[in-house]
Symmetry: C2
Subunit: 444 residues, 2 copies
C-alpha cells in the first residue's frame, strides 16, 4: 500500500445488488434523477473519498430488462452535474474504445476535467458485448485481440491530443490582442492502423494535466495495457490470495514497462453489506437475496457455460462440462472468476447466482463496520490492494453507512485522510502531473 | 408570428463579437469556467427566455487561434451543469451528424433531456470544415449532398431510438419484481445506406417526449431537411426582406411536407449592441470594432473568395471576381450572405470584416433598448420571424442588459411572457409532444 488508502465510490443506479430497488426504503425513480447522483457525490465527498465512478456500456443490457433498472444516463453528463455540486471529489467514467471516436472522447473527458478543475478520470474499456456492437453497425463482435489493438492506439491518440496544448499556450493579452500562442498548440498528425487524427484538440489541459487513466480489464492483454498506460486498475478479486498475486504481478509488469509501480494503483471491488451487528448485516443480505428473481441470471449463466437452463439444477453444484475459457470472446476475466468462485467455495448454482447478483462478480463482505475496516486494513497492509472500489449494495443508504461508520474507523487507524490535501484527482491518488507532449512521455 | 415571441440566448464564450475579450470589463478566463455559463443560464432564465444555445464544431477553429478564445468545452456537458443551476430554461446544443455515431448522440441528448426534465434541444448540423474531418480520418471533406444524405438517415435513426420506449415501459413494481416491461421497449433494427443500428436506446423518453429538433442550415438541402424534421430553424437573415421571404418559403415547404407550419419556428440571429442612448450604443460598437485585429479575418475571407490577401484593398469594395457560390462545398449559405451583405450595403472590405466579426454573419443592431424592441416587434409582426436567437456581442454584460432593459419592454407590449407557463422546452415553444413510435410519425 502506497501513501494512504484509496477509496472510490462505485455508483450504480439504486445499488449494486440486483434486487436493491425492491427494498421498501428504495425510491425506484431515483436512478433517473440527477439529484440522486449529486447527493451520492456529496456523501462520498463528506467521507473524503477519492472519487465517484460509473461503469458504462453503449447498449441496453438486454437480458435483464425486466429485473432491474437498465437505463443508463450518459455518465459524463451526470459527472458534470455532480462536479458543480461538489468541490473536491474525483469524477471517473467508463467509456469504450471500441465504439467511440478518439477525438470526441478526448474532448469529452478534457471538458469534464476543465469543468471540475482537474478532477476527471477515464476508465478505459473495450466492449465485447454484441448488444453494443449491433448499435454501431457490427454484426460480429471484434475479437479480444482486435479490441486491444484498437484500444492501445486509441489511448495513444487520446494522450497525444491531451498533450498537444502547452501549459503556456494561452496568453490572453488584451493590450496586444493575442489570445493563444499558436506555436504552443501542437498538431498531432496521428496516422495508424485504426485511426487518422490530426488535432489539435479544442480543449486545453487542466490543473492536473489530463484526466487520470483507469483501466478495468484483468485479462492478460488487459494487464499488459494497464502496465503501460494505467494509473489505476479496477479489478474483481475474489480472495485475498488472488488479490495479492494479481497485485504483485501487475506491479511487476509496471516496473518492467519502465514505470514507477507506485504510479499504478490497484483497486479491487468490494461490496460491503453492513449492519450494527453481524446478525443485522446477515439479515440485510438475506432480505436482498430473497428478493432476487433467478430466471434471467440463470438464462445468462446458461448462455455463458453453454448448457440449457432447463438442464441446470439450481441446488446442485455447477456442472463440470462448461464452455472452456478460451472460447469466450467477451469478458474472459469475469467468466474465469465465476468458474473459480463456484469451484473454490463449492457453491450451488443458486448460491453462485446470488453471489453474482450481489455485486456482479465482485467480492461481497457482510458484517459490522469494524469487520469491514479490518478486512480493508488486512488487504491494504499485506500487498493485496492500494485501496478499494466501494460498491454499495443499496444506494444511497449503503454509501451513507460506509461513510458514517467505516470511514471514521479507517481514519482513527491512520489509514485514511481526515481531509483532502489537494484539489485534483491526481493529488488525491498521489500521482504525478504528466508533462505536455507526446503520448508515451505522458505516462512514463 | 405564432402564440408569442420566442427568444433564445445564443452563448459564445466571452461574447459573439470577435474582440469582446479585449474589453476592460471582460474576465478573459471566464470562457473556461462552468460558473460563467451557469450564470448566463440564470440570467436568461430571469428574463424568462426560451433557451440557451451553443454552436459547436469538433475541431479547433484553426485560423483564428491567436485572435480570440477558440477552445470549446463539450456543449452537452456544459448544459448538464447549467440544467442543475436552473429550473425552466431550455438547453440546446449543436451536434454534427457528420462525425458522430447516431446511437451515442441519441443517448447524449436523451440523457440531457432526462437530467433537465424535458428541456433539451438538438441543433442538427452537418460539418463541412476539413479541420473537423481531419480529426476523424477524412482527407477530403464530404460533399454537400453526401452530408445531407447522411444527416437525413442520421435523424431517422435518432428519432427511431428516441421513440423506442413506450411511455408505460417502466413499471417498477416491487411486489412482482418486474422493473421494465420488455414488450414496451422496441428494437429499431435500422438498416440503411449509412447506418446499421439495432437499439433499443438505453435511455427512456422524457417529460417532453424527446428533445426538440433544431436545424441551422439555410441552403436548399438544409431547408428541405428542416421542412421535414425541424421544429425550430436558426438562420442568418441580413434584412427584413430576406427574413420575410425565407420565412414564407420555409413555412410553405413545411406545409407541403404535410406538417403544421406553426410547429416549425423560424428564429433569425440578432446581435444587439445596446446603450442607454443611441450615441452610447454606437460608442460601444466603435470601441469593439477598434479592438479587432484584421489579419486573420482577412486571410479567411481571402481563402473564401479565392484572391490573395495581399491583393485585397481594405478600404475598397469587395472585388467582383470572387469564387462562385457553386464552388463552395462548405457553408454555402453563409458565403452567399457575405457576398450579398457586401454588395447590398456597398461596404468596404474593412467594413465587411468588422460586420462579420461582430456576429459571424448575423445581423447586428446597434441602438437603445426601445429601438431593439421596435426592431424585434417589426420582424415578428410582419412575417419575418417567430422570434430570435439573441447573440450578445459581449458576455455576460450584453445578456444582462438585454434581459433587464429589452425584455421588460417586450413584456409591456404583450409580446413576451411574464412568467413560464410550462416546464419543458416544447411547452415554451408551443410544440406538441411527439408520440412514441417510428421515426416519421414522431414529427409529422
Amino acid at each position: 500500500m502506497s501513501q494512504h488508502l484509496i477509496l472510490n465510490a462505485f455508483l450504480m443506479n439504486n445499488g449494486h445488488h440486483e434486487a436493491s430497488w425492491r427494498l421498501p426504503e428504495t425510491d425506484v425513480t431515483a436512478y433517473r434523477e440527477v439529484a440522486h447522483y449529486q447527493h451520492l457525490a456529496q456523501v462520498a465527498e463528506r467521507g473524503t473519498m477519492d472519487s465517484v465512478f460509473f461503469a458504462d456500456s453503449p447498449s441496453l443490457f438486454g437480458t435483464n430488462l425486466e429485473r432491474r433498472p437498465t437505463e443508463a444516463l450518459e455518465p459524463a453528463l451526470l459527472l458534470s452535474a455532480m462536479a458543480v455540486a461538489t468541490q473536491r471529489i474525483g469524477l471517473i467514467a467508463t467509456s469504450s474504445t471500441t465504439y467511440e471516436e478518439p477525438y470526441n472522447l478526448a474532448r469529452t473527458f478534457a471538458s469534464l476535467d476543465a469543468i471540475s478543475h482537474g478532477r476527471a478520470g477515464w476508465n478505459v474499456v473495450t466492449t465485447a458485448d454484441l448488444n453494443a456492437g449491433a448499435n454501431f453497425g457490427h454484426e460480429v463482435a471484434p475479437t479480444h485481440a482486435e479490441r486491444y489493438s484498437r484500444a492501445e492506439e486509441f489511448l495513444e491518440v487520446v494522450l497525444g491530443l491531451w498533450g498537444g496544448w502547452a501549459d503556456d499556450a494561452t496568453i490572453a493579452d488584451k493590450a496586444s490582442g493575442v489570445f493563444h500562442d499558436s506555436s504552443r498548440v501542437e498538431v498531432l498528425d496521428h496516422v495508424g492502423e485504426h485511426f487518422r487524427v490530426r488535432g489539435p484538440l479544442n480543449v486545453a489541459r487542466s490543473e492536473q494535466g489530463h484526466p487520470v487513466i483507469v483501466q478495468a480489464g484483468s485479462s492478460v492483454p488487459g494487464m499488459a495495457l494497464a502496465a503501460r498506460y494505467a494509473e489505476a486498475v479496477f479489478t474483481a478479486q475474489p480472495s485475498i490470495e488472488d488479490g495479492r498475486s494479481f497485485y504483485a504481478e501487475l506491479k511487476a509488469a509496471t516496473r518492467r514497462a519502465g514505470r514507477n509501480p507506485d504510479h499504478l494503483k490497484v483497486l479491487p471491488g468490494l461490496v460491503p453489506i453492513l449492519g450494527s451487528t453481524e446478525a443485522e448485516a446477515r439479515a440485510l443480505e438475506q432480505q436482498l437475496d430473497d428478493l432476487v428473481v433467478l430466471d434471467h441470471p440463470l438464462a445468462q449463466l446458461a448462455g455463458d457455460i453453454g448448457i440449457p437452463a432447463s438442464e441446470i439444477d439450481l441446488d446442485a453444484p455447477l456442472p463440470t462440462d462448461v464452455r472452456p475459457v478460451e472460447e469466450i470472446q467477451g469478458n474472459r476475466a469475469r467468466y474465469e472468476l465465476t468458474l473459480a468462485l463456484a469451484r473454490r467455495e463449492q457453491l450451488t448454482v443458486r448460491q453462485l447466482l446470488l453471489r453474482l447478483g450481489s455485486g456482479r462478480g465482485h467480492r461481497a463482505f457482510t458484517g459490522t463496520p469494524e469487520q469491514v475496516a479490518d478486512d480493508i486494513e488486512l488487504w491494504a497492509s499485506t500487498g493485496a490492494a492500494d485501496g478499494f472500489n466501494i460498491m454499495p449494495a443499496v444506494l444511497p443508504s449503503g454509501l451513507e453507512t460506509f461513510v458514517d461508520h467505516v470511514v471514521p474507523l479507517l481514519r482513527r487507524r491512520g489509514l485514511f485522510r481526515e481531509d483532502y490535501e489537494g484539489t485534483t484527482l491526481r493529488e488525491h491518488y498521489g500521482l504525478p502531473v504528466p508533462t505536455a507532449g507526446r503520448p508515451l512521455e505522458a505516462t512514463a
